[in-house]
Symmetry: D3
Subunit: 337 residues, 6 copies
């Protein structure tokens, strides 16, 4: 894993026993514990993280005093030796201090897309501008012409864990969904193109309020209590109020797509798809979500030669990465080509 | 079944073979059919309905000309003889004409609550006024101080078929839910009372747009495509925009109750209850809905001495009304009382 | 509905009361019944069908003799008057005789794709030829270089009722799936392209044995008893035996895709997807199946101005076609374009 | 947590690192372990509990001899220092001895209702006496006039974990259910009041055999193997045998309520409700169970300012307690009231 | 179908258009209807049944007078001609009169086992006598030594429709279950043999109260409201009360088997099997029930050369009887054997 | 647990704290860890297993050098003391060396059937020879006359964990299934006997490829990716190709049995049973699987006087072994017998 910024030092996911490391980490957890031999006082146990994962760390000496100098949530600079203990990697910290703001880049501490954000933003803005229907264009524009919206869209994750669960992941998901929409539109002339595109573009707006990503990717309170589907509807309904000429039936069809995009009641969808655009949006979203989820799980294998991923509890299975890539690589088909 | 208005004449649900009847009916279906002996021309088959049910009717003579004089959806005055044919009651119409607007009352043509509407309206208005929390009071007042809203609330059904599926049924349901809320509040001091009450009162507002009841009780297009849960949230969110001082967290808790009141994803709920008020509202609504549904099914038995109702496909069972009521009536407990 | 072949005459789905018609039909059902006035002997009740639907027909005169001259499953030429009786259209047959083989085209009697079969065949053959991996190319070629296979592929339906349920429907489905695969491949460089393409192409081969379409589209006995998933595996396994150099792991990955393409146990899939190619194939198939199913249900509305389809029992809902197409048509965006 | 009896000393749920404590505890688990430095012999690890929870304890000195002086299940008096080790609170025991019977009150060692038991018993006895139907009164009286039954009812929990899972919890649940029944009876004159009340009162009798609560709240063997629903039916059937004049149909309706009170097959109910009383009892029980379950989970948060509870595996979610109670407290509505 | 008693005459399931028949039938339904030409008065429509099925019948002449002479539920002697009308067989009755009690045998009017009742009774009585455990023997004997019980066991069906749904079916089911139990006992020495046998024998006793079979096989009220599982437990509990020395744990294990024999909550089982005997009894019962159900559905095909049964809604499928039995018959293996 | 071979020494499942042991074990896991006091270097943590379970082991002295002398998967000879630490038994190893091949028997290191393998093999071979139908006999013979097949059949487990999960378990399962088939055949003359027997015998062949059992019982890659049901079909289809005279319909019926033997889609069955033989095979397999699973769980209790097993997550319950076996043992029935 190559650091985004050279000063980061080693990454939590890369530490190997035997290494000596100096690097910046986010303090996720901090706790003083007594030595079993109580006469020796206390040591410090830390969980240090960055965008690649986290590592257990111990400070054996001068722990109580050091513990006063930083808080959970701080970025610290730490130096020490990497060991293996009871099968887990841990960092024995020799030196540690609170980092100064100009010493690190926050992007090193949360996972982020590997795609180019500016290019992706340009892609979706062009898509918004290409909507020909004036009503849908106006509605979409109320979001995609708004700089604040675009700033947040450039950062937000698409989910907490399931897929595209990293900074910029929502934008990446959206660009993929829009490309799949075009493929679907080529097959079904019965689908109203701008309606499908607008549905895909508006369907993400609730996620900006569903998740927070300041230090960690998590649900907001309204994300948990109200949820993405209702937040989208609130935001779109409010925008529609500002567009008095928006045709009523078009609004109905659009809101129906958003209300039913999860597809099934048991998946938290308050409506089931009942229009061609709604069923298409559901399946395009679902395809991109599930295939990306598989790709992310396969990427997350710790060893490249591991044939099977760990058991994924939500999927209820292990995934197969394969024995060796060679034998599925096409051989040279020969001179006749 | 006693007519609400004397001029109605007989009711569809009361017609018995052998009777001669003159009455007003809603024409639900109209169709000309040829006699098997084609030389005789065509006769007219009608479905005539009112709030008690519907009856098949035939016009043997002068059918083509008569058929030109009225449409499906019209109220007509019809006279004729009631017969039984292949096990079904049918009306052999001797005379029929379109009714004039002042000859009938629309309330005779759809089922309606047997409770007093004015009393029920008074009850819920008092409940609205008794909300002490000024923010919730203001929010509830935006609906319950609105004459148009109250007019529609006085008429709306609570559901298409499941429970309280008659004019005024929604209001009846609401008064019952509010009474159950008070019983629950007596048991749980941890519940914020005005929040539960406001939730119950606001939870019905979407039904005014989910159903239409002009001639028949049915879903509206937005009722089918957007649904009650999302419509409520739209209406409440819009009202909250007009109340800038409304506390954000209170709004969140309130919207959460509405978003989760169906209780389970598979019942079309986009959220599951996560607060005490939300779980209480869900169970109060559910209790009233299901017990009323049973009561309505038991009432709908055709014969009072029928021990079992017909099989109800949605419930997947027959209900038991009992052999005879006598043996469950308490005997005189004697002079000591 | 325009006949494919002028000599067909009227179509069952187009008959309107009052018309006189002469046309060819498939006899789906034939039955002699006594007149109620037994002295009059028997009449003949027929169900006559073609690719647009079916119609009830009666022969009042000379029925017993006529009934001897043809069988269920025959094509007949019938002439008579169209009437409405008890709400159903029926044909009162004046003349009827068995057709000769050269008088009609079988394609008029089963629904068929409206796409160009030759073009679609060309498309999939090109796709087969473009597979660069020599093992997969050889395997796919064992089917797509076989003239018998291509003949049957050009005719087969994709399903009995659910989607693309017409002659040529399987081929149409395959061309759509292949196009969607290309869109997916553009998004996921981690997917082995030829493996996904080969999976899509081989996944249809079992359907040629699952369905019969000689007179009606129905399951074959082995279609019901063994099913498409197992039949595909049998056919592919047999082909693999002929290719001794085929890499074992590649065969495993391919067979896994086919075994898991239905995605979930409860949908009859003996395996769940565990590779990237398998999850992609499942979602591409599912998207095309479900969106096409919606399109076919919306097409099948009897009246173009019907806003809602009939209730579909399997989907558990009605679909919404919309009030009027005008208001979702984009207005002229103006001279700047 | 205030001790019920002053002599109890500190409670397990209240211990904080740094405290010195002398208190009585129930020994839930006891185990000798060798020091890693084997030459030092063995130490003792204990789990000590009371009605507020449990704490890990260690005896470093003289452990083998001390271990001989008490058993698991004994109450002991222990003194020592509270520490935190690896994130868990533990008690380093300096002195420990078996308690004498008169030194403690068993009620300190299991969680118990905070309601007044005598008042609750009086409430249900009055309810039993107020049943006017002589047959139902006699049946209910066979239980509620029995001193042994009442003694056990005063102690039993309503469930092992789910709701009212503490001594006296069953009685508390019953008083709440009876109050909700009265609210339901006010809404539905069609319900036979004494039947609903008797059903509620008899529905709890099986729980006295389903659970044991001598040292811990757990299932009995017959609770696990036969279950509450069948045990109730056995006990009520046996009581009915003693009442030869009890009307057969009334017995049938009553037993049906008990057999179906869990509502759905998948919730372990051998019958589904088919009468008005049965559906009402089911929903009243369910409402009280679920709302109480939420209340108990919210109460069990370790910190009062925790906005969300821990994830509850059975519910599949976290519950929301809220940010701060202030903003949902109604402000003074002002002088106009 | 050969009549059990020669005087029965033809059977409903055997009537073919064109036949003249004189036979005894059970009147299931009776209704007077007017002729369309009202001047002709009324005719009589009857449903006449016996153990092989039922047939529609009409009396054209003298219907009103005849209708006075018998009731639904009576056995009548009818003579007339069999016709086909609108695809259904109907009997045009020329003569009809109420039968006298000595003219027919009730066994002709409900379907019945084809096995020998006395032999089956002997088999189960021997099984009861062979139970060596004195407690279980005494308990089983309280039923199987009771003449009334045996009389009813000889008649009862095992289910209303699902399997062995005919007179004597319960006894047939029991003998099969007992034979399967012996096969299971040979495989599992860990199972207590007499406990499994006693469980199987006692598990049927509730069915004698769950079903009535006087005129038709149907649920009793207590069958619907309380159900077989609870009725068995009531009857066995009552018998156990009469056996004060019966070991408590043995009683618990036995009642657990009965309480859990349906195996899964969603199949209406209040308990899940938790002992070896319980899981064995569940699977033995289930095997016999399901295989017999398939056999009965295959037997009920109307035509022996029908390869597929009709669609069975509960099973959700058609069953396959096969093309021709010949090719699965083993050929002569030849002289070498 | 008695060792199969005297030289094995103690078994992992039998080790008790305080014992000194010398024995052979399979090294399942090996790891060097630093002492907390880093100056002391490293110790070795091992997981040592055999067919009775596994035990944690530590080597305190000379660990780094020793660790070089053997690998995970090796059999080693170890000597040391058994201790209890933090509630777990561990072996403090004093001496350890790699074993030589002739020192141990592999059968000691994986659990194995307690039945006689030769007898069981003889039983199934006789069953294969007794198939009279020449086609089925030939097909079955292609497997059961093959020495390699029989060798593997003699070793394979029937499942990874669920039932008969030990060497020889598949053969044991098969002999039991065949015996149950005979019991079923005695009850249902409608079942074709040789078809049922052949189905049972062929249904196991895929398991030889689904599982590996070289060192541990686990799925193979094709077991996970293709699965037992498809592998069986592949192997049977290939065998059928070699038998050109095999009747087509018989092949269809046989493959249907194999394709549907899991019974329900949600249990991973690509087909549901539609023939009598298929439903019988499913229930016979299911009975043997589930009863054996219960027996194995009850056997695995650590203490013979434990009334309940541990909670089984897949079953969702604990199983009941009973208080004491005495009271279910039949007393002497006395001299009168």
């Amino acid at each position: 894993m190559e650091p985004k910024h050279p000063q980061k030092g080693g990454f939590a996911g890369d530490l190997r026993p035997g290494e000596r490391v100096t690097a910046f980490f986010l303090v996720r957890h901090k706790q003083l514990e007594p030595f079993r031999d109580r006469t020796k006082g206390e040591f410090l146990t830390l969980t240090l993280g960055d965008r690649t994962g986290q590592v257990l760390a111990r400070v054996w000496e001068g722990a109580p005093e050091l513990a006063e100098t930083f808080e959970e949530g701080d970025i610290v600079k730490a130096a020490g030796d990497v060991e293996e203990y009871l099968g887990r990697t841990q960092l024995i910290v020799a030196k540690l201090r609170r980092a100064q703001d100009n010493e690190y880049d926050l992007a090193d501490f949360l996972p982020a897309t590997e795609k180019n954000i500016e290019e992706m933003l340009g892609f979706v803005q062009t898509a918004a501008e290409n909507i020909a229907d004036p009503h849908l264009a106006a509605l979409v524009g109320r979001f995609y012409n708004d700089a604040d919206f675009l700033d947040r869209l450039a950062q937000a994750p698409a989910a907490r864990r399931l897929h595209h669960a990293y900074l910029g992941g929502l934008l990446e998901h959206l660009t993929e969904v829009l490309q799949l929409c075009e493929a679907v539109l080529r097959l079904y002339p019965e689908i109203t193109p701008d309606l499908l595109r607008a549905g895909a573009m508006l369907n993400v707006v609730g996620k900006l309020r569903e998740y927070s990503w300041a230090r960690d990717i998590d649900y907001t309170d309204e994300g948990r209590l109200i949820g993405h589907v209702m937040l989208v509807d609130e935001m779109v309904s409010r925008a529609l109020e500002q567009l008095p000429d928006f045709p009523a039936e078009l609004g109905l069809r659009l809101r129906h797509m958003l209300a039913s995009h999860r597809g099934r009641y048991e998946w938290g969808s308050p409506r089931q798809p009942m229009t061609l655009e709604a069923i298409a949006l559901h399946h395009v979203e679902n395809l991109n979500t599930q295939v990306s989820r598989f790709r992310d799980l396969l990427r997350a294998r710790r060893e490249p030669d591991q044939a099977w991923t760990d058991y994924d509890r939500l999927l209820g299975r292990q995934l197969y990465a394969g024995a060796a890539d060679e034998d599925v690589t096409p051989e040279e088909p020969g001179p006749s080509e």
